[in-house]
Symmetry: C2
Subunit: 350 residues, 2 copies
DNA sequence: ACCTGCTGGTACATCGATTAACCACCCCGG
DNA sequence: CCGGGGTGGTTAATCGATGTACCAGCAGGT
């Protein structure tokens, strides 16, 4: 209070201070706080009181050093395509993760990288420095080097994506990944569409393949083939370019299926600019069920895949891998189509 | 290689192993790596070689314990309104921060909280545990308790917002915060609009006040007053509700100014659904220059405030506060209007 | 009286790195 | 031949918490 020279940094109390205040040894404090060892209820209470009195929490660095546990999980986002910005995916994922991590004292370390090589190098550094206890891998790809890498590094990890496939690390995701797209195609067919085009994500991503496969299969079951299939990099720019190209096609598609909602919204804008009515002349389907889609005009028909719940499940799996005692994640359900206004039957010009 | 029982976790090398490999003491290794002490160039190289050979990096926990420095910065996001998801703000901010933090070995610890009380409690815990070296405070409010709190805790911090005001912690942001809105109003007036309404953010946020004030001032200079001013919570839902209300007003506004782009997009959708043409019957201005806005129909007129650059500047300021030797941030410029298609003169129905 | 067993603690080594204090050695001038 | 001053390291204490090994004291059985 009346210290003349208030230091730049307030000195934080250590376990010693608490021990002194409670009149016990530091070992006793440790045991009282962690519930280990043999400590009478009376002294335990005395210690805890002293701790709150002094505002003491065990130093994370010291505990981490001693226990070789940092209570930190890494989430690395690749951003050549600025997935973080354009894709609501990540905010929802983070929300889901945090909901499970925070209550258990775990933190989420966020990093951005340019490509998968940088990402791998980053994991190696983080592990070498002992900065993290686990990692969440997003955007599973074919021949993904990361699961093998992390297994080799001995770092617990989960890979987001279809839970079916075998993998060096656990996979967490809704089952029947293709179900949403199949539903979307069925919906379009029912509306009378026969010329449907598909805008896919980057070819190297696993879910791109799964969904594309589902799309083609669903069409094939009706004896149809896609008017066109284009791969994209998830950017809004690509959405516009591809849409323009597809709309210029002879035998123009009457329905477009996009790999995410922001692209779908841009696709709608592009179609409207070209003088087409949505859905009168063109139906559009998105993916992810971004909240924005509920309010644009026309409201977006899209696929919901409950990213937030997947995030929560991923966190639990990871915590279990870190030796934490958590209830096993339950993840039922599958991606589901949400029908709104951007899909409909073709209507003659008024 | 031929170990029978490969442990779950690969044993990471320590400084001792490196010392042994290089034939020196651990002190020498430390000095070689940190460039401190007196070490000959020859042994230094030998040590560094041994380190890379073994794939050793100093343990973050041990270093943190010794140096009382974690090389971690906290970013806490309040999400009653899911700012993370709806606002591109955060992705850009994170991008800007990471660009400066990562090259210096700093990490970004991300947390989500419900309200400012939880946020304060979180800072106290993070500091008590010594988990972070600094914090980025977003969404400055009137009577913000956080700067004072963090100063009291001795934690370096920066507050994003107008750099003018005095504050217990440095503030980083573009100057002339109101400039963008003033430009927007001037633009609307020039287009002939006289009935302009303003949808503001939450009243307690500082930038809400600044912008609102700029808005009212700019109108007043032309001898006008706002048709209406409504506060909102940044959600898309609110955008729709407020827009519907304003459009039902007697003496309906001919131009709407929104506090962010996703709300503006929703506002446009709402107007269109009500049968209004944008911009023929209603002009709409957003804020943030979200990339989506470039592609919707009509393309969104908005205000760009270079969040990414602000993020970079914030990171530098913070790093300097942590004793890091960084070039001082330069942050010139001011928010600027980006005119696109969602604003225009009123046009008679065709 | 003496051993056993239990309760409730304490002393000390340890995790991995940093750093102040110290020292061995060599060169050189006097 | 000896002292002074570099050079190039080493030794040992330390950061804060944890956990093993140990010990004091006491009750009870014989």
């Amino acid at each position: 209070m009346n210290k003349r020279l208030e230091g730049r940094t307030a000195v934080r109390p250590t376990i010693k201070a608490v021990a002194a205040a409670a009149g016990v040894s530091t070992a006793a404090v440790s045991q009282a706080v962690n519930g280990t060892g043999r400590i009478s209820e009376a002294t335990r209470r005395r210690v805890l009181d002293a701790a709150t009195e002094l505002g003491w929490s065990p130093s994370a660095s010291a505990t981490a050093l001693r226990r070789a546990r940092t209570r930190t999980i890494a989430l690395v986002v690749r951003r050549p395509t600025d997935v973080l910005g354009s894709d609501p995916h990540f905010s929802e994922l983070i929300t889901g993760l945090e909901g499970e991590l925070a209550p258990r004292g775990y933190g989420l370390l966020l990093h951005l990288v340019a490509d998968i090589a940088q990402e791998s190098a980053l994991y190696e550094r983080l592990v070498a420095e002992g900065r993290i206890d686990g990692a969440v891998l997003t955007d599973a790809r074919a021949d993904d080097p990361r699961p093998e890498l992390l297994r080799g590094l001995g770092l617990p990890a989960v890979l987001l994506g279809s839970p079916d496939a075998a993998s060096p690390v656990p996979r967490v995701g809704l089952g029947q990944q293709g179900a949403g797209i199949k539903e979307a195609v069925a919906h379009l067919l029912e509306l009378g569409h026969r010329r449907v085009a598909y805008i896919a994500g980057p070819a190297e991503l696993l879910h791109t393949r799964l969904r594309l496969h589902a799309f083609e299969e669903a069409l094939a079951e009706a004896g149809l083939a896609p008017v066109a299939v284009r791969h994209s990099d998830f950017t809004e720019r690509a959405a516009v370019d591809v849409t323009e190209e597809l709309l210029a096609l002879p035998g123009r598609p009457t329905a477009l299926v996009f790999p995410n909602d922001s692209m779908a919204v841009c696709g709608i804008g592009t179609a409207q600019r070209a003088g087409l009515r949505v859905p009168g002349d063109l139906s559009v389907v998105g993916y992810d069920n971004l909240s924005l889609g509920r309010w644009v005009h026309p409201r977006l028909t899209t696929v919901d895949q409950q990213v937030q719940r997947v995030g929560a499940a991923a966190a639990r799996t990871l915590l279990a891998g870190c030796g934490e005692d958590v209830p096993p994640p339950v993840l039922d359900g599958r991606p589901r189509l949400v029908v709104r206004e951007s899909t409909g039957p073709l209507t003659p010009p008024t």
